[in-house]
């Protein structure tokens, strides 16, 4: 069958997402008109997704270096040193649009993709996380989306046997037409056995392993592919279906092969499949590549070169082997019943040359294509500052009533309904399950553990992108710190609207600035990340959502802290300064129906100082429980500790403070800790220049406010645990 060869019209070029200027550059590089296969390759290589053309300029400003960094951005995942010759490998990635179209499969394949990014580097995945944003709970599609996304994440992660130990879930009408599904994987590898997506050595075989290639996910070019099968009445679904069983086999087979020294380079086939994997490997290694598509295992008859190169079928990997090692490698993949095919070899031509059916269907220069990838400095405008909001401008509600409302609101209620659908214990190393500050997995066979978290407060970012960017990093830092672990590095997932709008671009620029400042101040460089733009429907953009995935190390598991109150009659100490900042708080939104004011400012020096102090307390064995303060403020954090420990507390707010602001303000850089006595902690705090306040004592069946109401823990728990299950079981 010969390759379809339509005329390359302006319409076809536009349909491939290339603008006139970009197409002119294509013509210049080639010195001729591309054929359809080549056009398809340019289209995906220069897509926003693969080229980061709108974001690159700003991503470059993020700090990526520190002594613990082994590999920063630019590879499949970031790598950091965790001591004893071991490394943690991690990254986060979005699958937003596919999850909106088909929530189960979209979310499932998102998990599959990020897992491959991590085990591609030679790491065994040890933890999954997920950051989810849905629309208004009252929106008719929300329930269906939540149900499908959660089932899909579980369906995939549970089957491959990687525990899902942490995440976040938010609801906001701005996500009605564009939900966010961000998945993160953390793996562990030997620090001197990391594999890179770099292919060199002319003559080395290029090998395809995993599932067969089908026509999944060939988008961007609907018209072009429709013309290939005029007899098909059915519109081809572009949805990719995941096969976690095959992924599990692929993990085991790849790790088994990587334990030998047969592999030169390896790369998963993610977005843009065979095209980007072969291109990236060759380009990073300064090689050329010759592929023969007749050897690619296919699932369907009559697939064209265009389809094979652009297919996004899941659970596939491309690797370059040392010459003569093919048989050894094949035996491993045979053992695991996976397809294994030699599909080409490296060359020294610097070109990508593709054959199919005896014809040459593509001949592209690799470096010019990679180097000439567009990079834009898009116009941007900064977000105007919100007018100040003081406590006396915000109505004071009864604290008991306010707590009851907040603890059951969609953004603060228990996520048990979500994480009980995830196997969060497989591997038998989960030392902190979901529901605390960070998930924690023991590094297998050792006494140390990784603390992992994902955080972002999009409403803060909308109100002030710089402060919001700082806050996301700071909250991840606090969640890790609260377990006793040392935060080491972050990954990010930048979810924004249309970057061609200066207002949206300004949010991106501001968030990068804030994140960069926080990463520098807190010593947590960015080692990997992902950008998802154009999350916009009609005129509605999502809230700017730079989700931060943080990883920290606890080097001695006997020094771990958890949020639960441990005993009655212990002192509760509040670390950090409380000003009662109500702007952009959940109190303001849930009780007053307002989303205004500036977000709480983030004092990065205080974050660092207080974080270091809290970690020292934990390491010194001074505290019995620890929890950071975030959404909902002090009383919410206190209630969470009380529920986890199944005992109440009696507290005494300072007399001069306005109770609603003091109890529900969202000031940053704060923690609650418990200890048999407050005295030593207060003294140590004073010595360290850290604000500390003896808040009260644990015990009893209720939360008692001095001179105020007593709030039954049982009622708080019922409200907290009740909202999500009852929302999900309601009709419609």
């Amino acid at each position: 069958m010969s390759e379809p060869n339509p005329e390359i019209t302006d319409a076809l070029v536009a349909e491939h997402g290339l603008n006139a200027e970009e197409y002119a550059r294509v013509l210049e590089i080639l010195g001729r008109t591309p054929n359809l296969v080549e056009l398809g390759i340019f289209s995906v290589m220069w897509s926003e997704h693969c080229s980061y053309k709108s974001s690159k300029k700003w991503l470059k400003t993020l700090p990526t270096d520190a002594p613990q960094v082994i590999q920063g951005p630019g590879e499949n995942a970031g790598v950091i040193d965790i001591g004893d010759g071991q490394a943690a490998v991690f990254k986060m990635e979005s699958h937003n649009h596919p999850s909106f179209i088909e929530p189960y499969q979209g979310a499932a394949t998102g998990v599959g993709g990020i897992l491959r990014d991590v085990f591609t580097m030679g790491a065994r995945p040890v933890a999954n996380l997920n950051a989810l944003r849905f629309g208004d709970p009252g929106h008719p599609k929300t329930r269906h989306l939540v149900s499908g996304v959660v089932a899909g994440i579980g369906g995939y992660g549970n089957c491959v046997g990687v525990p899902t130990v942490a995440g976040e879930v938010n609801f906001h009408p701005a996500y009605n037409g564009n939900i966010l599904v961000n998945a993160m994987t953390v793996g562990v590898a030997e620090a001197d056995r990391i594999f890179y997506a770099k292919a060199h050595g002319a003559g080395n075989p290029v090998v395809y392993v995993g599932s067969k290639t089908g026509r999944d996910g060939i988008h961007g070019a609907t018209m072009a592919s429709a013309s290939f099968d005029e007899d098909s009445a059915e519109k081809r679904p572009t949805v990719q279906v995941g096969d976690p069983f095959t992924e599990k086999l692929l993990i085991e087979a790849c790790l088994e092969l990587m334990a030998t020294d047969a592999v030169v380079g390896i790369q998963d086939m993610g977005a843009a499949g065979l095209t980007s994997s072969s291109f990236e490997m060759a380009s990073k290694g300064g090689s050329g590549v010759a592929l023969n598509l007749d050897h690619v295992p296919v699932r369907e008859d009559g697939m064209s070169a265009y389809e094979i190169m652009l297919s996004e079928s899941q659970e596939r990997m491309l690797m370059v082997l040392k010459p003569g090692r093919e048989a050894e490698a094949k035996a491993i993949f045979d053992k695991w019943d996976l397809d294994f095919a030699i599909v080409g070899e490296l060359t020294d031509s610097g070109r990508m040359v593709i054959q199919k059916g005896g014809e040459q269907v593509c001949d592209l220069p690799i470096d010019p294509l990679a180097e000439a990838a567009p990079e834009y400095d898009r116009p941007w405008e900064s977000t105007p500052a919100q007018p100040d909001l003081t406590a006396d401008q915000v109505p004071a509600h009864d604290p008991a009533q306010a707590l009851q409302t907040l603890i059951a609101c969609p953004d603060l209620c228990s996520r048990r309904w979500v994480w009980e659908q995830y196997d969060h214990m497989v591997g038998a190393d989960t030392v902190q399950r979901p529901g605390g500050d960070a998930g924690m997995v023991r590094v297998h066979g050792t006494d140390k553990a990784l603390a992992v978290t994902v955080d972002c407060t999009p409403r803060y970012v909308l109100a002030d992108p710089v402060q919001g960017g700082r806050q996301a990093v700071a909250e991840a830092y606090r969640n890790i710190t609260a377990t006793g672990a040392q935060p080491l590095a972050i990954t990010d997932n930048m979810n924004f609207g249309n970057p061609e709008k200066p207002r949206v671009m300004g949010q991106f620029v501001g968030a990068c600035q804030g994140m960069g400042e926080a990463c520098r101040a807190l010593g947590t460089p960015v080692v990997s990340g992902n950008v998802s733009l154009y999350n916009e429907t009609g005129e509605t953009a999502i809230l700017p959502t730079p989700a931060i995935g943080g990883v920290g190390l606890l080097d001695d598991l006997s020094k771990m802290a958890t949020v639960a109150f441990k005993a009655d009659d212990e002192a509760i100490v509040l670390i950090g300064e409380t000003h009662g900042h109500l702007g952009q708080s959940l109190y303001l939104r849930e009780l007053c129906g307002r989303e205004d004011g500036p977000p709480p400012p983030v004092d990065l020096e205080a974050e660092r100082r207080n974080g270091d102090f809290v970690r020292e307390l934990i390491r010194g064995g001074w505290v019995t429980a620890c929890h950071d303060l975030s959404d909902g403020g002090l009383l919410v954090a206190l209630a969470e500790m009380a529920m986890a420990g199944d005992r109440g507390a009696a507290i005494q707010p300072p007399e001069q403070a306005a109770p609603h602001a003091w109890l529900f303000g969202e000031d940053q850089a704060r923690y609650l800790v418990t200890a048999p006595q407050a005295g030593d902690i207060l003294q140590a705090a004073q010595a360290a220049g850290v604000a500390a306040y003896a808040l009260g004592r644990t015990g009893g069946p209720a939360l008692k406010l001095a001179g105020g109401p007593s709030i039954s823990l049982q009622r708080v728990r019922a409200a907290h645990e009740g909202w999500l299950p009852s929302f999900m079981s309601a009709a419609g």
Binding site: E102, Q105, S211, D216, P237, V241, F245, R299, Q314
Partner: protein, 79 residues
């Protein structure tokens, strides 16, 4: 009245379950099984008395609940 609904994956959509079953059959020594596609069947017991109306209703059930029309086709038999 009874209705029977078949829900099958659209052509081209990966059917990992079918793939696994095909493999297992060949391991059990059943040769010549060239493909396996899996699907679901729902048998509904309806109080309807009118065939055409019942079909109409079942079609709505398929669209709204029984099938995921993004990746699945359905087929209705009445009676």
């Amino acid at each position: 009245m009874k209705a029977r609904v078949h829900v099958t994956l659209k052509t081209g959509v990966l059917d990992p379950q079918g793939k696994a079953i095909q493999h297992a059959l060949s391991q059990l020594g059943f040769d010549g099984v060239e493909g396996v596609r899996t699907g679901k069947v729902f048998e509904l017991e309806l109080t309807d008395t009118d065939q055409a109306a019942a079909r109409e209703r079942v079609q709505q059930m398929c669209e709204q609940l029984l099938a995921n029309t993004v990746i699945e086709n359905y087929d209705i038999e009445i009676g």
